[in-house]
Amino acid sequence: MTFEPRIVGFLCNWCSYAGADLAGVSRISYPTNIRIIRLMCSGRVEPVIVLETLAQGADGVLVMGCHIGDCHYISGNLYAERKINVLKKLLARTSLEVGRLRLEWVSASEGGRFAELVKDFVEQIKALGPSPLAGDKPDKNILAGVLAAKAAAEDFRLRLLVGREKTMIDDGNVYGEKVSEEELDKILNEVIDTEFVRNRIYLLVKEKPLSVKELSERLDLDSKTVLRHVVVMRRRGLITVDRVEGTSPLYTALEVGR
């Protein structure tokens, strides 16, 4: 049987959803693979929902909004762009292909463009093959990565940074110092790295108590880095020592404090 991808689309009401309607009104055909969820604005696209959709086995997620400058809500698509940027960075740290997520701008008059983009995205996903998370037996390792990414996307620290990105560039920080895109990108990468690893650690030790050495093997990270994260996570009350085996403490996740 040929692989028919399951694609979930998150479309804004005013431009891209109207563009999708226009494709139909103009009888422009495109593959049947996409299932569209209508939102009022692409800015409503919640990173956690996108990651959960992928974790649940969607072969692809296509987010569409108004072209820059055309947002019905002035700047919603700019926020969508920043969120998708962060989502791609998070996905890049998992073993799930970043290409399973795509953001495009479609206006209400671009029925043809909508159909072309769907066709193109279906091809892109077909080239990637079925999601390793689809079906009854998802790849456990990849799933663990995506769930860690999702946990990071739920986390206050990363969300605060993403929420403030645009303000920091436009208006500056509390001292009125403007932050450049490059500086911000650097900070963002650091925070994402940290949050992703910590959430992986958390989810791993939640399953069963592990030592730093075991964690470093599982995560393919040097034990020094893992230890650094473990220290911070202990201090924040995220994990604690379960027991000591030989000379190695085994860590376990705490429910409280998150």
Partner: protein, 569 residues
């Protein structure tokens, strides 16, 4: 309403054939049978046209007969037909926000005409997704607000006064707040208006007198707006007079007509250094007061501080015609005076403007094109006589023009205190500093914030007829809510879960409508009548403490899971 939330969902699904538009591709009976098996669906049927009066009756009958408390129509797009079906639900006693649509025509049968099987499967999925959302829908109410039939006009120039008169003629009360001691604005400083060459004072005095004698217009001069609270229909305005006395009043709508001063080109072309280098505005005053001594040679330089590569990149729109007009006025007074206009590009775009330009050419005004990268230079001789050196692109040589009066055409710019006003009103300024409309083409005089409008040169450089047109425009825009007296606002708004909010203020900054502020407890609070329901705050909130009504995370997630054939956790 509360009791309704507790009710178990009883969903009715109405699948439309749309003649052959859907039924010719999608196997509608199969979709109906499929829908019947979905959770919480207690009834499903097919209609030839669900939107026909018969179809609408079927929905109402279904609601009554099967005690439905949720309705789904699987047909066309909600963008066109949702209001109709919502109306049917409302008439049958089901809150209209408990209605959901599955778009199986525009986004299914029409797009997949040659794949009936795939289209039928997709239609089933779309119905399943609609059911998943429907189960979680909550009834919503649209808040109703009263509108105070009174407008605040900020700025008493020609734009503000025109708007005020127009509104008072429609029976509304108007407050004009003008920071200067007199009404009139920029027009009060001008001499003649192009292209008719009538006295500016002639047009202005008529308007000023009409405003002053109008009993429903209250004029507050030497007064500034200090604070504005509230929202459309219910603005609470605080103003401050020159003697620091404050006053409060209510306004239903607000018009920004603060005008624009000209750019003072200090340090450019000897301005501020040589007395006989002046601006067009100064020339206008000299002409008006009859104080212009006969010059032998006048050189006007266009685009001084305008259309720059960075900073003031915009065209000030009025300068070409102003220079031509003032050149003609000099020529009329002193026909043998040489008048040069050094321009980069000449734009005489308006009604009867090109004719004015031709008259100036006929009367001997000399037009010389200069290049931005080789701008003219004003140099002073031993006895204070000025020479303007300009590279003539067509002759490929530098001209040296002796001149005893150099006139600089400088752009209109935003007032220095505009930023403060923009913060008071929570409306934006554009990159050029002028007040920024919500949509340049379709809503050119509205702000994103309901009930606040902009006209005249506060919005961008423009001349009198353009300012007056916009003033009529804003008066008509502002009259709409005031004539309606009551407004229904958006039901799909954001709501903050106070117990989850950490008071970080991220949402306050990113809301494009200023609908969120921190309350006395330090947690975010949404002013529902200001919220437009985009949901950016909900998707961004670091604590995930904001929920978007009708598009809740739970509802959206349920749709996504249904799309994948999984059930929500």
């Amino acid at each position: 309403m509360e009791s309704m939330e507790e009710e178990t969902p009883r969903i009715g699904v109405f699948v439309c054939h749309c003649g052959i538009n859907i039924g010719g591709v999608v196997n509608v009976p199969e979709v109906v049978e499929y829908a019947k098996k979905l959770p919480c669906v207690v009834y499903a049927e097919e209609n030839l046209y669900t939107c026909s009066s018969e179809g609408i009756s079927k929905i109402k009958e279904g609601i009554a007969k099967y005690n439905l408390n949720r309705v789904i129509v699987a047909s066309c797009t909600p963008r066109t037909h949702e209001p109709l079906f919502r109306g049917a639900c409302e008439e049958a006693g089901v809150n209209k926000y408990l209605f959901e649509m599955a778009n199986i025509r525009d986004q299914c049968s029409w797009a997949h005409m040659h794949e009936p099987e795939g289209a039928t499967e997709k239609a089933k999925d779309l119905v399943r997704m609609a059911v998943a959302k429907s189960r979680l829908l909550k009834p919503l109410e649209e808040p109703e607000i009263d509108v105070t039939p009174s407008a605040l006009v900020i700025g008493g120039g020609i734009s503000g006064m025109t708007a005020a008169l127009c509104l008072s003629n429609q029976g509304f009360k108007v407050h004009i707040v003008e920071k200067e001691p007199e009404l009139g604005g920029m027009l009060g400083h001008l001499y003649k208006l192009y292209p008719t060459m009538q006295d500016a004072s002639e047009s202005l005095n008529h308007v000023v007198n009409s405003v002053k004698s109008n009993k429903s217009i209250e004029v507050l001069t030497s007064t500034v707006v200090k604070q504005v609270k509230g929202f459309i229909g219910n603005f609470e305005v605080t103003v401050q007079k020159a003697n620091d006395e404050t006053a409060n009043f209510e306004a239903g709508t607000i018009i920004v007509a603060t005008g624009a001063p000209i750019f003072e080109p200090v340090g450019m072309y000897g301005y501020g250094e040589y007395d006989n280098v002046i601006t067009q505005l100064r020339l206008e005053q000299l002409l008006k007061d009859g104080q212009l001594k006969k010059p032998e040679s006048v050189v006007m330089i266009q685009c001084v501080g305008a259309r720059e590569k960075e900073g003031r990149t915009y065209c000030s729109r009025i300068c070409c015609m102003t220079a031509i007009k003032n050149a003609l006025l000099i020529k009329d007074l002193h026909p043998d005076t040489d008048v040069y206009i050094l321009f980069r590009e000449l734009q005489t775009y308006g009604k009867h403007y090109e004719e004015h330009y031709r008259t100036a050419q006929d009367k001997g005004v000399k037009f010389v094109k200069y290049l931005q990268e080789k701008s003219p230079r004003v140099v002073s001789g031993k006895n204070g006589e000025l020479t303007v050196n300009v590279y003539h692109a067509l002759l490929n040589e530098e001209l040296k023009i002796g001149s005893d009066l150099v006139v600089l055409s400088t752009p209109l710019i935003q007032h220095e205190d505009a930023r403060e006003l923009s913060q008071i009103l929570k409306v934006p300024l554009g990159p050029d500093g002028f007040f920024f409309e919500v949509h340049v083409k379709l809503r050119p005089i509205d702000f994103a914030t309901d009930g606040i409008y902009v006209c005249g040169t506060a919005h961008s450089p423009k001349d009198t007829p353009e300012s007056v047109s916009q003033a009529f425009g804003v008066a008509s825009r502002a009259a709409i809510p005031m004539a309606l007296k009551r407004l229904r606002t958006e039901a799909i708004t954001a709501v903050v879960h106070e117990n989850l909010c950490s008071g970080c203020g991220t949402c306050v900054k990113l809301c494009p409508y200023g609908a969120i502020e921190k309350d006395e407890k330090g947690v975010a609070r949404v002013t529902e009548v200001v919220c437009k329901g985009c949901g950016v705050c909900a998707a961004t909130c670091p604590e995930r403490a904001i929920e978007m009504r009708h598009f809740t995370s739970e509802q959206v997630m349920a749709q996504a899971l249904a799309a994948l054939g999984r059930t929500s956790a």
